[in-house]
């Protein structure tokens, strides 16, 4: 499968993402310069962390106007899997591809440390191989990760299963101590209504090898690989099987994926 990693001026986790996808997971990867207006050839897109365009104005704001973002938007609208990590999440928020906004961390401090995350939704291409309630460990590194959404939007996110990750303790409990930045309801990651666009503040690419202390981050990339290799075409929305039905595999999965293509969801 072919990943596209979008590189903005000021991205600084792009190489880490490329390394994990190419060297650890053995996938094809294109680095896509943000000044180009195409993402052609990619089966999945990653918007990496960093400080795109210096985070001037607001984190992710200037990046949302880069030529490549029209192509990213079109790819997302076709149902292609898009993952925004940290600054990439902020870019997706500012682009309107994900709901909500980021405020400065409540503490005003840049937080750089490992956190635990509880998986809240497995309906996205990046979490469908995970279990609901599963606890992952990976690092955060941000100054503006205090997720905010107006009350009506927050309620819709909850009702529609668009909250994908919450900060938790090691046992999966959501507490004020486990919230590193003041995020609304401990939200660490969300998805769009269709589920194919996901953003999270923690860094899965920094937790994908034993030597880095955790391989939990790899599960997100492996999730999208599992989805595509079992026959779902790139750009297909995730199968609606969700967590309540047995996860399909083999020929059966292919049937479901084919049905999904026709919009029977």
């Amino acid at each position: 499968m072919r990943f596209g990693v979008v590189v903005f001026p000021g991205s600084n986790c792009d190489r880490d993402c490329v390394h994990v996808l190419r060297a650890v997971l053995g996938q094809d990867v294109d680095e896509l310069w943000s000044g180009e207006a195409t993402v052609s050839g990619a089966d999945a897109l990653i918007l990496p962390g960093g400080f795109a365009f210096g985070d001037y104005l607001r984190a992710g704001a200037v990046a949302s106007t880069a030529p490549i973002m029209a192509a990213v938007r079109e790819f997302a609208q076709r149902g292609g899997p898009v993952l925004g990590i940290c600054n990439g999440f902020q870019v997706l928020l500012e682009s309107g591809l994900l709901p909500g906004a980021m405020l400065r961390n409540k503490s005003l401090q840049f937080r750089c440390r490992p956190v635990h995350l509880r998986v809240e939704s497995t309906r996205t291409p990046f979490t469908r191989a995970l279990g609901e309630g599963q606890v992952l460990r990976m690092p955060i590194a941000h100054g503006e990760g205090n997720y905010y959404a107006p009350q009506t939007v927050a309620r819709r996110l909850e009702d529609d299963g668009q909250i994908v990750f919450r900060y938790s303790d090691a046992d999966g409990r959501i507490t004020s101590e486990s919230n590193p930045n003041g995020s609304l309801d401990g939200i660490a990651g969300v998805c769009n209504a269709a589920g194919n666009v996901v953003g999270l503040m923690p860094h899965p690419e920094r937790a994908s090898e034993e030597i880095l202390g955790s391989t939990d981050g790899r599960l997100l990339f492996e999730s999208v690989l599992a989805g595509l290799s079992r026959g779902a075409p790139a750009g297909d929305p995730p199968a609606s099987a969700g967590a309540t039905l047995p996860r399909p595999s083999g020929a059966g999965a292919r049937l479901i994926a084919t049905a999904g293509r026709g919009g029977h969801r």
Partner: protein
């Protein structure tokens, strides 16, 4: 050309952590009379003199602010 001055602040009710920290600093220096402090952004943009105000509004709402969390106003000339 003329210069438009735009002031952007967080909406009422949105946590202004920087404003609170600045207020704390002022209190520490003994300025006990200080109430709420808001930290925002200030922009000067050169535009044609006959530019319609709606254009400024569009710039603010589409890009210069995030309307979920920020308010804007055209500021006074210094």
């Amino acid at each position: 050309m003329t210069t438009v001055r735009i002031v952007i602040t967080l909406k009422p009710g949105i946590l202004d952590a920087a404003g609170q920290a600045v207020r704390q600093g002022l209190l520490s220096l003994g300025y006990r009379e200080v109430g709420e402090v808001k930290v925002g952004r200030y922009l000067e943009i050169a535009v044609p003199e006959d530019l319609a105000p709606e254009h400024i509004a569009a710039m603010c709402e589409r890009f210069l602010t995030n309307p979920l969390i920020e308010d804007w106003r055209v500021g006074e000339a210094p």
